[in-house]
């Protein structure tokens, strides 16, 4: 039963997790002291999320088999009663899920959901809980939090939903925060802000942090120790400085060398061809009357054959909305889009929602093929298998269902599906945000290859500036529904004109932990500056971390 062991907040010994015949985690051991931060990096599908789940006993009665010992804040998670587990969950240890976009109840206001969770652990009146919800939403940088707290999840952008989930976790002031890829949908400034917030909380409240991430830079900025995972096992473990500075394991070295660099540009693009898509003066207004909100405001752009247009920008700036309008999934409020029969596809930002849970991923990928009239089963299977393989998935998993895949794997399924029909234009909405750097490199390479071969046009929405630079010919920077800067990628990155672009570039995390600390201090200063500016302009959309 519960012993009064204070030393370790988390104690994992010889953890193993099997899903049926798949052994996802095997012999994993680590511990975490109160107030400490452990980063878990590694290959997509290496069992990071599965291990994180085990800390809260979330595998219980799902059919997954867990062995080994897991102790969190003195509670033996494996043996704890349901009531004990409930006390642990949220109150002692809170979790931010990897797929934040589908992790909120679509029917309830976001503020209410946070308030509900808060009241379970902290009690108090409904009013107080709502106020707390607004407070934490504000802390994670949701502009106009009091009003936005009344929105339903579908009215939030991807990054906003992710932040709402972080807010939910923080609302209860847990002793341990398990954050599974908490910043995948955030632009670098907001990401930095969140990471700083977590850092601050650790210092203030002694919160322990288990940060699962594929972004080595993020890990470098926020944790003390790193655990590198591959194929369900730990391959290397140690202080962040040592592991990232002088990696021992071959895999770690490989990983580090694959980290995209801000200065690595795309190899000279083939000559841009005729325009595939032309958008003029796009506007999108959600809602009506007083509660209306202009998500996209007068955006014009052109995408040509064989060209990649990178779109970066603030979370909630209208990137997804724009992307959906471009492919025709969303009606425009005004403006025109000329597609001229271009075959378009989209990689959705939320890989969970974009896959039908009842159809095997092979079938989902095969969908565009079948739609285009291919009937030969053999051919379909072969083609799908090839696509799966090219995005780094085992073709034998054709008949598996989405819930059997890790976050990064699902994202790749989505890419494979978009590629299946050989479209002329793909709008990729954060297509590699959940992928470890090696896989990421692999996928971007694949896209580049197809672009060369087929003259594919790409709209590449991402928050990772390095990746965008790597894949794009031109880049557009969005903020508050507008394109604030657009141009050839080298120009924008080399000599940014808009202050916002400059701020973005400054916020890119670095792999060097020492440099990271220096940057953090610099950011704080910049933020203060910016706030003064904003105050002066009568705006206060920059949240205070």
């Amino acid at each position: 039963m519960t012993e009064a062991t204070t030393e370790a907040l988390v104690e994992v010994i010889d953890l193993g997790i099997s899903f049926g015949e798949t052994r996802a985690v095997d012999g994993l051991s680590f511990s975490l002291a109160p107030g400490a931060a452990l980063g878990v990096v590694g290959e997509s599908g290496s069992g990071k999320s599965a291990s994180a789940y085990a800390l809260l006993g979330l595998h219980r009665s799902t059919g997954a088999v867990v062995d080994g010992t897991v102790r969190v804040a003195g509670t033996d998670v494996q043996r704890a009663s349901d009531a004990e587990l409930r006390r642990l969950r949220g109150g002692v240890a809170a979790m931010v899920f990897q797929d934040p976009l589908s992790s909120l109840d679509p029917y309830y206001a976001i503020g209410d959901q946070i308030a509900e969770v808060y009241r379970v652990h902290r009690g108090g009146s409904k009013r107080a809980a709502r106020a707390r919800a607004v407070e934490v939403l504000d802390r994670v940088g949701i502009p106009d939090a009091a009003r936005k707290a009344r929105s339903r999840p579908h009215e939030f952008s991807g990054g906003m939903r992710q932040r709402a989930l972080i807010a939910m976790a923080l609302a209860c002031e847990p002793k341990l925060l398990i954050a599974d890829e908490p910043t995948t949908a955030l632009d670098v400034t907001v990401q930095a802000q969140i990471l700083d917030l977590l850092h601050g909380l650790r210092q203030e409240t002694g919160m322990g942090l288990l940060l699962v991430t594929h972004d080595v830079g993020v890990a470098a900025e926020s944790v003390d120790d790193v655990l590198v995972m591959r194929q369900g096992r730990a391959v290397e473990r140690g202080p962040v400085r040592d592991v990232l500075g002088a990696p021992k394991a071959a895999y770690t070295k490989e990983l580090l060398s694959a980290v995209p660099r801000l200065d690595a540009a795309k190899p000279a693009a083939s000559d841009a061809g005729e325009p595939l898509l032309e958008a003029r003066d796009l506007r999108k207004v959600f809602g009506r009357g007083k509660s209306s909100f202009t998500a996209v405001d007068g955006v014009s752009l052109t995408v040509r054959r064989g060209e990649t247009l990178g779109v970066v920008g603030e979370s909630g700036s209208g990137k997804t909305t724009l992307g959906r309008m471009l492919v025709g999934l969303l009606d425009t409020t005004s403006g025109t889009i000329r597609r001229d029969g271009t075959a378009v596809q989209m990689v959705f930002q939320d890989p969970v929602a974009s896959l039908n849970p009842r159809r095997s991923i092979g079938e989902s990928v095969a969908d565009p093929l079948r739609a285009s009239g291919v009937r030969d089963e053999q051919r379909i299977r072969a083609r799908v298998g090839e696509l799966l393989e090219r995005v780094g998935l085992d073709p034998d998993r054709y008949d598996r269902y989405p819930h059997e895949f890790s976050g990064g794997q699902r994202q790749r399924v989505g890419i494979a599906r978009a590629l299946a029909a050989e479209p002329q234009l793909i709008v990729c909405d954060e297509p590699v945000s959940a992928l470890d750097v090696t896989t990421q490199a692999h996928v971007t390479e694949l896209l580049a290859e197809l672009q060369r071969e087929l003259g594919l046009g790409l709209v590449f929405i991402a928050h990772d500036l390095a990746v965008v630079r790597q894949v794009s010919d031109r880049v557009a920077v969005m903020r508050r529904g507008r394109i604030v800067e657009e141009g050839a990628v080298d120009e924008v990155y080399g000599s940014p004109k808009d202050p916002y672009t400059r701020q973005l570039l400054a916020a890119v995390p670095t792999v060097d932990p020492v440099l990271a600390a220096v940057r953090r201090a610099a950011r704080k200063e910049l933020r203060e500056q910016l706030r003064e500016q904003a105050d002066g302009a009568g705006r206060d959309e920059v949240a205070v971390a």
């Binding site: 969950r89 809170a94 992790s103 679509p106 029917y107």
Partner: protein, 329 residues
């Protein structure tokens, strides 16, 4: 919103007219000599002919229908023998058998059926959703199996069996409840309630089974979704998760179905009404069909139609409120 209302209004007019046309056509084709039935078995052919004339049955069907439409929009006059009965504008005609305006008859019956339906509705929603909730919460256990069994018994037993058993047990044998009887609410609310309790219960027992099953299955679907995992991971009790988050996912089909059931029940829960001696619209319909009292049948069917349309409009509005992703059409 105004667009929605206007469209619905147009829809309602269409539904009501379509219903009246269908009823006219059916009764035109159906067997049964109205004049003979109204006059009585032993009327002579001459007397039958007089009645035939009096009811204007000799006119071709479209003329009769035209008169009906005229009555609907402009009112009509009828002879009472000693004088003239005027029937005001939304006039559905005069009952062949009762010689009073159909609208008056319906207005008398509406509170009766209304009381029955509204009470039963509240009860069956509570019972159905409650049972569904409980069986989703306690899924896989003995409680769930018992509940499933009970709801299915409820559903596969006809109302006259359930109703009669209830009467015998609670009224005759135990004497806990008075024998069901309709007392207008305005006369005596307490008697109204006690007199209608058993009819409500019997209807609810039968109707609720559907809702219980449906709620349960929708909830199980929702429980498999990702967002439920979030609340589990935040230590919410299974009860809270089932009762709040999973239930919300089950709301859509419940709203849709209850609108349908409540609306169509305004056309009368015929069996329930006749078993419990509640003289509502259902009983009126059966009697009128039997007596080939066309104006009343048209009136009843149009009333039902009206409530069906109304209930659906309310349901759609509610539904759009419940799920903001759905736009009101």
């Amino acid at each position: 919103m105004t667009g929605f209302l206007l469209r619905r209004l147009g829809g309602a007019v269409f539904v009501l007219l379509a219903l009246s046309v269908v009823v006219y056509l059916v009764f035109y084709a159906a067997p049964g000599n109205v004049a003979q039935i109204v006059c009585g078995e032993r009327c002579s052919p001459a007397q039958v002919a007089q009645v035939h004339d009096r009811l204007q049955l000799g006119d071709p069907i479209y003329v009769q229908y035209w008169h009906f439409l005229q009555g609907l929009f402009a009112g009509r006059d009828f002879s009472s023998g000693v004088g003239v009965v005027h029937c005001d504008a939304p006039c559905l005609g005069l009952s062949y058998r009762q010689d009073s305006p159909v609208t008056d008859i319906l207005v008398n019956k509406l509170p009766v059926t209304g009381s029955l339906v509204i009470g039963a509705f509240v009860l069956w929603i509570l019972l159905g959703v409650g049972t569904g909730l409980l069986s989703a919460w306690k899924r896989g256990g003995a409680i769930e199996r018992t509940l499933t069994g009970l709801t299915l018994i409820g559903f596969s037993t006809p109302v006259f069996v359930i109703g009669l058993v209830l009467i015998i047990v609670f009224c005759s044998t135990l004497g806990w409840l008075p024998f069901p009887q309709y007392t207008p609410f305005s006369d005596n609310p307490e008697q109204w309630f006690w007199g209608l309790l058993l009819p409500w219960i019997s209807l609810a027992l039968i109707e609720s089974a559907k809702y219980a099953r449906l709620v349960r299955s929708s909830m199980l679907e929702t429980l498999a979704e990702d967002h439920v995992r979030t609340f589990r991971a935040y230590g919410l009790t299974e009860r809270a998760i089932v009762g709040k988050h999973a239930l919300r996912g089950a709301v859509a089909p419940v709203i849709a179905l209850s609108a349908l059931d409540a609306g169509s029940m305004f056309g009368g829960a015929v069996l329930t009404e006749s078993l419990f001696g509640i003289q509502g619209i259902g009983k009126l319909l059966v009697d009128s069909v039997r007596q080939v009292d066309l104006p009343v049948v048209v009136g009843v069917v149009m009333t039902t139609g009206f409530f069906v349309v109304l209930a659906n409009a309310v349901a759609d509005a509610l539904y759009a409120m419940a799920d903001r992703r759905v736009v009101l059409q």
